[in-house]
């Protein structure tokens, strides 16, 4: 198990290094002078020179890269070219917001998705399955920005139950924070829930036909013990895969959701950075998002190996 973990963490670090290389080369491959590009539209000759100096753009690439890496390791992502604030500070403020949104959305998606997926599989061919399938299709095919706007219309404008937009940090006002986050989290989790439903249903249908399910039934276990104790656990392997993959999409989904609900997270930050051509900010965001993807992947694999003993053994055999 420990060997397996070390192995996987090593792989993750290499992937992260590759991401850094891509980001590093990406900016330098920009058409024209990188310093001019990085200075943004309002860049004065002085700022351009300052950037050239700062990033050592006149030096050979390997030297630049080592320097860049050194800065990253110290947590120095440079300064925003539009506001002058250090990028890492801006990201440090936005990241927890997006993380909260993503985690809430994931919880909703996993809880709802697994439950409905199991129902659809166990009630195959019955009305309950059709209802769940229809709900999943709806969740997949309706664009989330539209769903978000409709939800605002209903819950904020018509019913007045929830605030339409904005954000309050959890540390300042926990209840207010949840009030602001619940609707975006539901909307963001919706399409993921749909995917989890489908995956759970398919995996459960496969498990239900397995020999060990018959063994479980032959032992005298009741349907709940058979389905959840034996079937669901075997289905979770493929559900975890899909959740891991979908978490990646959650980050991109957050861009839209944060825009609709005016939430100051990474998504909103990214869009703003792109509109102002704030290259240091874009680089920072790309690196953080890439690191998040890699981390999610790593976690997915760890969860796998906890669920499935066979993976543990295979990983150690290498």
């Amino acid at each position: 198990m420990i060997l397996y973990l070390v192995n996987r963490i090593g792989q993750a670090l290499i992937t992260l290094l590759l991401a850094v290389v891509v980001v590093f080369l990406g900016v330098r491959a920009l058409p024209g002078d990188a310093a001019t590009a990085m200075a943004g539209q309002e860049g004065t000759p002085e700022t351009i020179d300052a950037i050239r100096e700062l990033y050592g753009l006149d030096q050979p690439l390997p030297v630049q890269f080592v320097k860049y890496l050194g800065q990253l390791l110290q947590g120095d992502f440079g300064r925003s070219t539009s506001t002058g604030v250090p990028v890492n500070e801006v990201i440090a403020r936005a990241l927890p917001v997006t993380l909260e949104l993503a985690v809430l959305a994931m919880l909703v998606a996993v809880a709802v998705g697994i439950l409905l997926g199991v129902v659809a599989a166990v009630r195959q061919g019955k009305p309950a399955e059709w209802l769940v399938n229809a709900a999943a299709l709806l969740g997949l095919s309706v664009p989330s920005f539209w769903l978000g706007l409709m939800a605002i219309l209903l819950f904020s404008v018509i019913l007045g139950w929830l605030p339409a937009s904005g954000f309050v940090p959890f540390s300042e006002d926990p209840l207010g924070n949840l009030e602001h986050m619940i609707m975006p989290a539901l909307i963001l989790g919706m399409s993921m829930a749909a995917v989890v439903i489908r995956q759970t249903r398919a995996a459960m249908l496969e498990s239900l036909g397995a020999d060990y399910m018959r063994t479980a039934k032959a032992k005298g276990l009741n349907p709940r013990e058979v389905v959840f104790g034996h079937g669901l656990r075997n289905s979770l392997i493929s559900v975890v895969t899909i959740v891991g993959l979908q978490l990646g999409f959650l980050i991109s989904g957050a861009v839209v959701t944060e825009q609709v609900f005016v939430i100051p997270g990474i998504g909103k930050l990214t869009l703003d950075a792109i509109f102002t051509r704030d290259y240091p900010m874009i680089q920072g965001v790309v690196l953080v998002v890439a690191a998040a993807y890699i981390l999610i992947n790593l976690l997915t694999d760890v969860v796998y190996s906890i669920i499935d003993p066979r993976i543990r053994v295979r990983g150690e055999a290498h």
Partner: protein, 331 residues
């Protein structure tokens, strides 16, 4: 005393191509403490026949007839009563231990589950009992094996775990559906030996389904030969081997590979054709089309099981064969 009496058992599957009668008015009984072998070709309804006793048959099926377990009709009792009987009074061992065990649960947990369910044992007590059970079925270093997963065991060891699980609550009846078919020839004999020993020590009755006449000769007290969902001949094992009477039974025995021949090459050499798929309960002899002795009468009436000379020997055939069967001995 009979532990189990099966009378007129019928199992029909509703499939997309219409009904399939897998078990067609099957009769047999199992006596206390005996080992009964059920033999027959693939697809003749052996598995469905035993799974349907406790409502474990797959798919969309209707079951009819009477299944009396110590006087209680299993086809009419409630689902919760069935759950109480499953694993406690009547336990199963399946063909492929690779897939019949849950791959994600340790061996110890899987065996303990039955004990905790039926006997309400504490975790610790169940653990101790599992060690005893694993030792009883011949698993060495039983205590160290509690925490291993099925994939870490050999096929033979896995099947022993299945057996431990099945005998955990001291069932009155153990049903083993081809317990050795998926295993290496070298470990088959060991499993059969273990089953025999367990019967002698625990006194349970065993129903063993097999294709292998060698296994039958080795372990069974009595034999039921099945064809197309029905029992066409039944007799004590010595009597059956000495006086096989139904043309199908004789074909099966002639098909047994002799010493030196490849085990599968000569299967069912004596019988050409396949088991028919029944769409409704048979009104004639289902074997007539493959039988060298069939007459018009065979195609007009269904032969019912009837006693013939020889203790406890019944056969369902209009043309029972009585000449001694010449088995060619190995070359």
């Amino acid at each position: 005393m009979n532990v189990l009496e099966v009378a007129d058992l019928g199992v029909t599957f509703a499939t997309e191509d219409g009904p399939v009668v897998a078990v067609d008015r099957l009769d047999y009984e199992v006596r206390e403490g005996e080992i009964l072998a059920i033999v027959g070709e693939s697809g003749c309804g052996k598995s469905v026949g035993v799974l349907s006793l406790l409502g474990l048959q797959p798919g969309n099926s209707t079951v009819s007839g009477r299944v009396s377990y110590r006087g209680e009709d299993l086809l009419t009792v409630s689902e919760s009563r069935l759950r109480g009987l499953r694993g406690r009074d009547i336990a199963y061992i399946f063909q492929d231990p690779m897939t019949a065990l849950n791959p994600l649960m340790t061996v110890g947990t899987q065996v303990a589950e039955t004990l905790r369910k039926h006997l309400g044992m504490s975790k610790a007590a169940a653990r101790e009992r599992v060690v005893e059970l694993l030792e009883l079925v011949g698993i060495p270093a039983a205590r160290e094996r509690l925490g291993v997963y099925p994939h870490q065991l050999s096929g033979g060891m896995r099947q022993r775990v299945m057996i431990a699980m099945a005998i955990a609550c001291d069932p009155k009846l153990l049903i083993a559906d081809e317990p050795t078919t998926a295993l290496d020839v070298t470990v088959q004999a060991g499993i059969i030996e273990t089953l025999k020993e367990l019967r002698d020590r625990l006194g349970m009755a065993i129903v063993i389904i097999t294709h292998d006449m060698g296994v039958v000769a080795d372990i069974a007290d009595r034999v039921v030969v099945m064809y197309a969902g029905k029992a066409i001949e039944s007799a004590p094992v010595v009597e059956l081997f000495a006086h096989p009477t139904h043309p199908y039974t004789r074909g099966l025995l002639q098909a047994v590979p002799q010493r030196g021949q490849h085990a599968t090459a000569h299967r069912l050499k004596g019988i050409s054709g396949n088991v028919p798929v029944l769409r409704s309960t048979a009104v004639a002899c289902s074997f007539a089309d493959r039988c060298a002795f069939a007459s018009d009468a065979c195609r007009a009436v269904r032969p019912e099981p009837a006693p013939i000379a020889g203790a406890g020997h019944t056969v369902a055939c209009l043309h029972p064969q009585t000449e001694p069967l010449l088995l060619q001995k190995g070359a």
